[in-house]
């Protein structure tokens, strides 16, 4: 009995091998000869959600103007995408056009390896880029990519919850801390942010430095080793950040609460405030959140720190996301043309969808939500902006280190002094590279 059973299984196995083996032959791509296949890459796997949908639309419009072109995009979430790009860089298979961000930690190594095409500034000058946008991608006097979004660091808040608890928009950090017991009494988390990925906390640290000194440039000075991170402003900023955590301003599991979780705490009205960037203007249209929330979400500028020299219009603002062209692409000129096309269409489309604040100027329209208008206003009010955040100004190792140390600071595992010392050591190593 068993023998027959086994024979059957073996035959089945043989079929299972043969059938797929016949099918696998059809695993390669086919391509019509005259068609140009433009390969692209980005970190937007969701093509029906806002950003992805905008890119799809741009692509569709581009193809209409260039009928012999086909666009194929490889999209993955952040980490797998970075990995894939690095693999492609190692084997000379980079896409023709791809999105890459964080200039010094990600893009610069590619530039140094001569894998990115140089862009002509003149091509993009008249496309209404905000001040400093194109400059943030300039290295060695040359332009290497076009930025897509203008990002500001702000505090979103829930007007309804504020009214419920009986507080008003705070001006200073002391006022923020005073609000904590009032929120907690009603079982609310005062403020939520993504502590697991740590970069929001790093940016907040930058922001506190700005509020203390009114001078964001000391960060670069320290990275250039003309100052040390163990100098007073940095340590004091670390202490203030840690004090905020100790005062229970944030959710209890801050350091393991990831982006989605922290965003949802705010969206589901469990947290009254949300410390994040201007790209979240889409909160107003997110169908996942209750209508009551969407009608009440607003934003205010990062508060002042008592005794600090910085004003509320010293913004932490930078330009995010770059689109670049592969230096060894067969279709380099076509790729550059795509970038120009993209730069033309993106601001309008993304603003229509209220999904991000673009790196190019947009006019406020009547359709804009109050949140969108407030964000544009905050940007317009800016007296100075920080430029690239600290963690993106040096090597990848420094970025990882800063994220780790800031997170440990927030986890109360490091004292501000220990944090400063370790960060400074990391900066020293980075400077030597």
């Amino acid at each position: 009995m068993k023998r027959n059973v086994f024979r059957t299984v073996l035959c089945l196995a043989a079929v299972l091998i043969l059938l797929p083996a016949l099918l696998w032959a059809g695993g390669k791509q086919e391509k019509k000869p005259e068609q140009i296949l433009l390969k692209m890459g980005d970190n937007l796997p969701d093509r029906t959600g806002t950003w992805g949908a905008v890119v799809e639309q741009i692509n569709a419009e581009f193809i209409k103007e260039h009928p012999n072109v086909k666009i194929e995009t490889e999209s993955y979430p952040d980490q797998p995408y970075q990995q894939k790009i690095k693999l492609y860089a190692a084997s000379g298979q980079l896409p023709d056009v791809f999105k890459y961000w964080s200039f010094s930690t990600l893009l610069k190594p590619l530039v140094d390896a001569k894998l990115v095409a140089e862009l002509n500034v003149a091509d993009f000058k008249d496309l209404n880029y905000l001040a400093g946008a194109l400059e943030s991608n300039t290295y060695d006097g040359k332009l290497w990519g076009i930025p897509v979004s203008g990002d500001l660091w702000v505090v979103y808040y829930n007007k309804r919850l504020f009214k419920q608890v009986g507080v008003t928009v705070p001006e200073t950090s002391d006022e923020v801390l005073a609000m904590i017991p009032k929120f907690k009494a009603q079982g609310l988390i005062p403020m939520s942010t993504d502590g697991k990925d740590s970069w929001p906390l790093c940016i907040t640290w930058d922001n506190i430095i700005g509020r203390l000194t009114s001078d964001y440039s000391i960060i670069q000075t320290a990275l250039d080793r003309k100052m040390k991170f163990t100098d007073p402003p940095f340590v004091q900023a670390a202490k203030i950040l840690q004090d905020m955590v100790k005062a229970r301003l944030f959710q209890a599991d801050l350091v393991t609460s990831d982006y989605g979780a922290s965003r949802n705490l705010f969206g589901q009205e469990k947290a009254a405030m949300y410390l994040m960037g201007s790209w979240e203007l889409g909160l107003v249209t997110d169908q996942n959140f209750p209508q009551g929330f969407r009608d009440n979400v607003s934003v205010f500028k990062f508060p002042l720190i008592k005794g600090g020299k910085g004003g509320r219009d010293d913004l932490v603002a930078w330009f995010g996301g770059n689109y670049v062209v592969n230096a060894n692409s067969k279709y380099k000129d076509l790729g550059i043309e795509y970038l120009k096309f993209y730069a033309n269409r993106f601001p309008t489309l993304i603003w229509e969808k209220q999904a991000a604040v673009p790196a190019q100027r947009v006019e406020a329209t009547a359709k804009d939500s109050e949140l969108a208008k407030s964000l544009l206003q905050i940007a317009a009010d800016a007296k100075q902006s920080s430029g690239t955040p600290s963690l993106d100004r040096s090597t990848p190792a420094f970025k990882e280190d800063e994220q780790k140390f800031v997170r440990d600071l927030a986890a109360l595992v490091l004292t501000p002094e220990q944090f400063a010392r370790q960060l400074d050591a990391s900066a020293e190593t980075a400077a030597k590279q």
Binding site: F6, W24, D46, G49, W51, G260, A261
Partner: protein, 282 residues
Amino acid sequence: MTAKHLRIRKTAGRAILYTFLILFALLQLFPLVWLFNYSLSTSGELFGPELLKLPRSFQWINYAKAWTDGRIPMYVMNSMIIVSISVVCSTLFAFFIGYACTRMVWKLRLVVFNIVMLGMIIPIHTTLLPNFVWFKVFGLLNTRVGLTIPYIAFTLSFNTLMFSGMLKGLPRSVEESAWIEGAGLGTLLFEVVAPMVTPAFATVSIMTFLTNWNEFIMANTFLASENLRTIPFSVIRFEGEYASQYAVQFACMALAALPAIVLYFVFNKWIIAGVTAGAVKG
């Protein structure tokens, strides 16, 4: 103690045993229930205060989206092809090597066995970059067969270990009598030895299947084209840069788990009391 006492004690013991087993079963089933629960909610409800929550309205549309936008049919097809080949090859090769190293007599027996065991220890991530470059040379990048090779290689060690563990205890007598009856290697392996270790075959197949069915990192490395992607890619299609469609992702994962559960239930039959010591054929 009277017979009646013993009987009551036995029944009570059985009752306690069953209660414990059932409670434990509930604990193990819980994630599946949770998965289905939230696959039918809206993405926001996932972060709510309740662990299980009857959705305000059943979002069957999540499954529709998973099926269409998630490209489930195409990805399942690819997964089935790639994983089936991997399972069949890995199981067979492991059986062969396990047999050769435990039941056959030759000098390098232990050396080869230990080399194969070494494969288990190698962390996958350090092989990604070199393999990527190396496979490119052989034109194996972005092909289905290309992906099956590491899938087989990385499960071979565990599988061989499993087989060797179960082959070691077999009594020689059965093989000897088969040999006396004039059996060749093929017959010996497939009609005599294999039936004695069907639990091993079942366990190994299930293990290999599941390891590769949910595998993402190597698929991500070796595949590029949309039409070759496997099931884990359907989930990432709903991951936005900042906000993700969690509920639809759950629907994808639920759909992905379905074939696995079905196959496990079917293969379970093969783990039967298969060994009767001293059973001489004929």
